[in-house]
Symmetry: C2
Subunit: 206 residues, 2 copies
């Protein structure tokens, strides 16, 4: 849907003066509040503006055209992340491997007693430990994991493209999605591949 | 670039009657050869038509608009595949794990004495074997691999989207790219993630 000239002016006004009331917007455009009511409704419906009662309008963002490359790149991490698999620090390597098979995941996250992220352990890390001829029941995951702050993390409001760049640039298979030091999700090369295929299916591409 | 009506008619004629000479195209459109010369040049320059001397015109295909979702989906497997890592059937599990670390790959392919693909072995398969408390030097990869014909494979002229669908639907990390029973490449969730990020960089998206 194409925005009209007045709607674009309103967006610019809100961007530069938020929060701004409908009266202030009307005054700025030298129009009545009634004249812009329809435009404000459209912009709110499109999720471009957000209205808070007795505060005013905020700018939420313009959405890229559906079915475009931008709208694929701008899918949010929270829309495609999967559930994280978390283990505590004293879990044995053996149990971590079993968990990885049971949960069919390539990466598990390690958390401390406050549920905060302390490390990440990958299939590759576990394979390395399994080669060591040691008793895997005796070694805790904390000995094999990559630790905070060396970890690369994602946040739920990042875009698919931003997360994909982190994954590619750092040559990792997945990132923990973190909020308030806690792991709330997992985004991986699998999530990215799934998102691409799902998106193509949704818009009917072959 | 938008094609004009006559250019579209020429494309249809060539598609349905290839090879077709410029004289035949002109006759069909009830025009002179001179009148369509310019259109034929444009279509050849755009790589939509191919001209073979003394044979006629062939249809090569229309390219999706650069920077579009379609042009991302239609990237060919051969443009993004990586080099395969191949082992012979009697390689030990131990050596396969070492190769996987040295080559930094998540999947290795197993070939026979004619260099033909016989199986695929993943990090997950190797981790399972490593858990078995057996001497990994004594077990050949052929005991742990997924065998032809159970394997899913790709071909070099498939699109990124077709390969991604196979990877996602079959829940595998990568596919061997096969030609004449031989492995000529590897396409994986990593290739797909890399292609997406590279494509975004190329067209200047953030």
């Amino acid at each position: 849907m194409e925005l009209n000239q007045r709607q674009k002016e309103i967006i610019d006004l809100v961007k530069n003066n938020q929060p701004i009331t409908s009266q202030e917007i009307a005054d700025n455009l030298e129009l009545s509040r009634a004249a812009i009511r329809n435009d404000l409704s459209v912009l709110s419906l499109l999720d471009i503006l957000d209205a808070k009662p007795r505060v005013g309008y905020f700018y939420k963002g313009e959405r890229p055209e559906p079915g475009s490359l931008d709208s694929l790149f701008n899918i949010k991490v929270k829309e495609i992340m999967s559930l994280p698999v978390n283990l505590v620090e004293d879990t044995s390597i053996y149990d971590a491997i079993v968990t990885m098979f049971l949960e069919d995941t390539g990466t598990v996250f390690v958390i401390d007693e406050y549920d905060e992220l302390v490390g990440v352990i990958s299939r590759k890390d576990l394979l390395k430990m399994a080669m060591g001829n040691r008793d895997l029941n005796e070694i805790p995951v904390s000995l094999a994991m990559t630790r905070v702050p060396k970890l690369i993390t994602a946040i739920k409001d990042e875009t698919l493209l931003m997360a994909a760049r982190k994954i590619v640039d750092n040559k990792v298979d997945s990132l923990p999605v973190v909020e308030d030091e806690k792991v709330i999700g997992r985004i991986s090369k699998t999530s990215i591949s799934n998102a691409l295929v799902d998106y193509a299916t949704e818009i009917g591409s072959d």
